[in-house]
Symmetry: C2
Subunit: 435 residues, 2 copies
């Protein structure tokens, strides 16, 4: 593997060490702007490691006047251990993505205060009041700002890094800058686009109830063609700088603010992968919701909000993306000089709608892929995992798989976001054989 070759040959790696509390305290004390933000003497700072993700260490550091979050990459997958090495360089790409996203979508990512590629370290503002959106949704919390913020993030980061907004030269430089992040892409290629559809040791699902569906998905050639086409697009379509892992566990929220975190999977890829990730995780929150009910109908308002949010994510994204296209089309694609006059403008506008229809189709397909991997693959969601009764969980998961399969294979049935929410509402009432 060339990624391994590269990381072994990387001279920076010799400076790397896994930071422990005392070590981190000494390190941070060297930077006046960090020390002054924290306040008080370094000895007085509280430091705790809180990382609950799959890959990294995360420290919360608090002083007398403020706090920071410190994220350090480990040279292996934390969830699995040293047997699954992963390049430290992902911290460099996370830093690159965070700073680029901050320019494109101000206020929607945590501010970076410091970074150190050798230590695979990024220091960020502390989001003290925010919680991981997925946790809030498991609890049935409604986030009224979410549609507005996430669609601004999506429309601006995707449009403004695409060929519609930047020169071909700048775009190629961007693609090259992220090309080295292929080990993280490979995780996606395997865990999302391949493993759930074959016998793979790391796969798991809610047995025995989903055994038959898992087996059927491994034999379903319509699905295998569809996922392979999506994989080819993931490999082959550097449309924009995408976050690459934009599920509700990568979004921190309060009722008034939204911050997108953890872009270590960032690279130039298909836009629909990010939009689809958001929609997939909302669909799962919707279909998992009945599993968290303590009394029938208790979460009805929440569920209605989720469905409205799904519709809002696409429609507001599309509206903002098109608005940017009409006013910020400084890229090399679709040169306006070929669409002059009234007739030209009308024709370009029609072509924009064709572009959006294609992007919607991608979004639906990637969304389905993201659902299936969370139920039949390695990494699962607390949306489902926190449903204690496994049979009840399996019902929610089976409904999600049924919807996802239709979205991936029966593409022609999903022409608008309303088709998606309608199908979700319908499958919510479906009873699997085992139920």
């Amino acid at each position: 593997m060339s990624s391994q070759r590269r990381s072994l040959a990387d001279p920076r790696q010799s400076e790397y060490r896994i930071l422990h509390e005392a070590d981190l305290r000494d390190y941070l004390a060297k930077f006046p702007e960090i020390a002054s933000r924290l306040g008080g003497s370094p000895a007085s700072w509280s430091i705790s490691e809180v990382g609950d993700g799959n890959l990294n260490l995360v420290f919360i550091v608090k002083g007398t006047t403020g706090g920071i979050a410190v994220k350090q990459a480990l040279p292996y997958v934390r969830l699995v251990g040293e047997s699954w090495p992963l390049p430290l360089s992902r911290s460099h790409y996370e830093y690159l993505a965070l700073t680029h996203q901050a320019q494109l979508a101000p206020g929607l990512v945590p501010a970076v205060l410091h970074h150190n590629d050798a230590l695979a370290l990024v220091v960020m503002e502390l989001l003290e009041l925010h919680i991981i959106m997925r946790k809030g949704m498991v609890a049935g919390t409604i986030y009224p700002r979410f549609v507005q913020d996430i669609t601004t993030f999506l429309a601006r980061t995707l449009f403004l890094s695409s060929d519609l907004a930047v020169s071909a030269a700048e775009k190629k430089e961007g693609i090259a800058a992220f090309a080295g992040n292929h080990a993280l892409c490979k995780i996606t290629e395997d865990l999302i686009f391949t493993d759930p559809y074959r016998v793979a040791e790391q796969n798991r699902w809610t047995a025995p109830w989903l055994d038959a569906t898992a087996a059927a998905f491994r034999e379903d050639l319509d699905l295998h063609v569809a996922i392979s086409r999506l994989k080819l697009k993931f490999l082959n379509a550097p449309e924009a700088l995408i976050h690459g892992d934009l599920h509700t566990g990568s979004i921190m929220v309060t009722e008034n603010e939204t911050k997108v975190i953890d872009p270590e999977f960032a690279f130039y890829g298909p836009m629909g992968f990010d939009i689809g990730a958001v929609i997939a995780n909302l669909l799962m929150a919707y279909l998992a919701s009945s599993g968290h009910e303590r009394a029938p109908g208790e979460r009805r308002a929440f569920e209605a909000w989720v469905l409205g949010t799904i519709e809002g994510v696409w429609t507001e994204f599309a509206r903002k993306f098109l608005e940017l296209w009409r006013i910020e089309a400084k890229g090399d694609a679709y040169p306006v000089m070929l669409f002059e006059g009234e007739a030209g403008a009308a024709r370009l506008e029609a072509e924009r709608q064709v572009y959006m229809a294609r992007l919607f189709e991608d979004t639906v397909g990637f969304s389905a892929a993201k659902i299936i991997r969370r139920i039949l693959g390695l990494a699962h969601n607390i949306d489902f995992e926190l449903i204690e009764d496994p049979k009840r969980r399996a019902v929610c998961e089976a409904r999600s798989l049924r919807l996802a399969r239709a979205m991936m294979v029966d593409v022609a049935l999903f022409r608008s976001i309303g088709d998606v929410t309608k199908a979700a509402r319908k499958v919510r009432g479906w009873r699997p054989d085992f139920a």
Copy 2:
């Protein structure tokens, strides 16, 4: 422009000087393997500058026992002069492409003997017996090896650098290695995908006969949408390492050998651009042929051979590409593990046909774009230019434009290569209004 920033900042540039005969003699004499290939004393070597392309210096050096070709990039476009600067780094990309193509398609590119990025210099074997294919075709010469060789070149260089054959990591490294060649890509983006469809100072055509058609093409919004979609694909689809300029002026032939030269436009782009370039130039040779007739019907056998060659280029390319896919599918796309057993194999085979149909559609579109730029844009072909009577030339060109417009806009009418040759044969008999 970032390409300019880069070349100004490039420390290698200070070592660069334009080589003259004496200078080149001294330089070459320093390399024993070159000196021994040439034979005799350096003073006895004959050196002549023969470059007739648009961009570079080309020296033929001959000694007592052998010869070499030396290609040096100029810091500007030779055709236009110092007012149009162009980075010397293109020589580096040409070297990279030549050596990679030599591995993928042995024997079909000239062997590289030496290169020097600082001097923007590549030294190659001398192709003494070969002539530029375009010249041979203007003279009506038939090349019986051509289909076999060019389809081996196309199938092997495209398939073996694609996601079907290499890992995603290796592919991303390749894309990054060529990302810096964006100034050459920009020439294509402007001269092929934009300028022929708008008022641009550098455009020219055979006036006054083509004035009306040129004006119509500048107003034709169907065409503008189609060319913009092709441009987006050129910007956005790094399917394989493409040659990037594969016209019949970049192919040297004898009756028994074919060599593809001049890959300085190489980058990771859409496969159909290379296949389309070959087919476009054959179509132009076919439709220009009547302009070179001294007696009616004189070139009938040649023209029949050209049409057969067009069909052969697609069908043999497709056959070889599919054969490679069946036996060398070591890439990350379409993993065979998702298509196991007899039913899986049959389904993957069906999907391969779908893939080829999409690639054919791209090929037809890019082919049309390459024809239009040669008639309404900056750079013209001797196929047409050597037709002395301008009205007679305009007739050939008008037929070519008519065919190209249909290929780009009426995509659905061109389902097979037979549809293309049939349309070419039909347009060959069409008389423009002015004729």
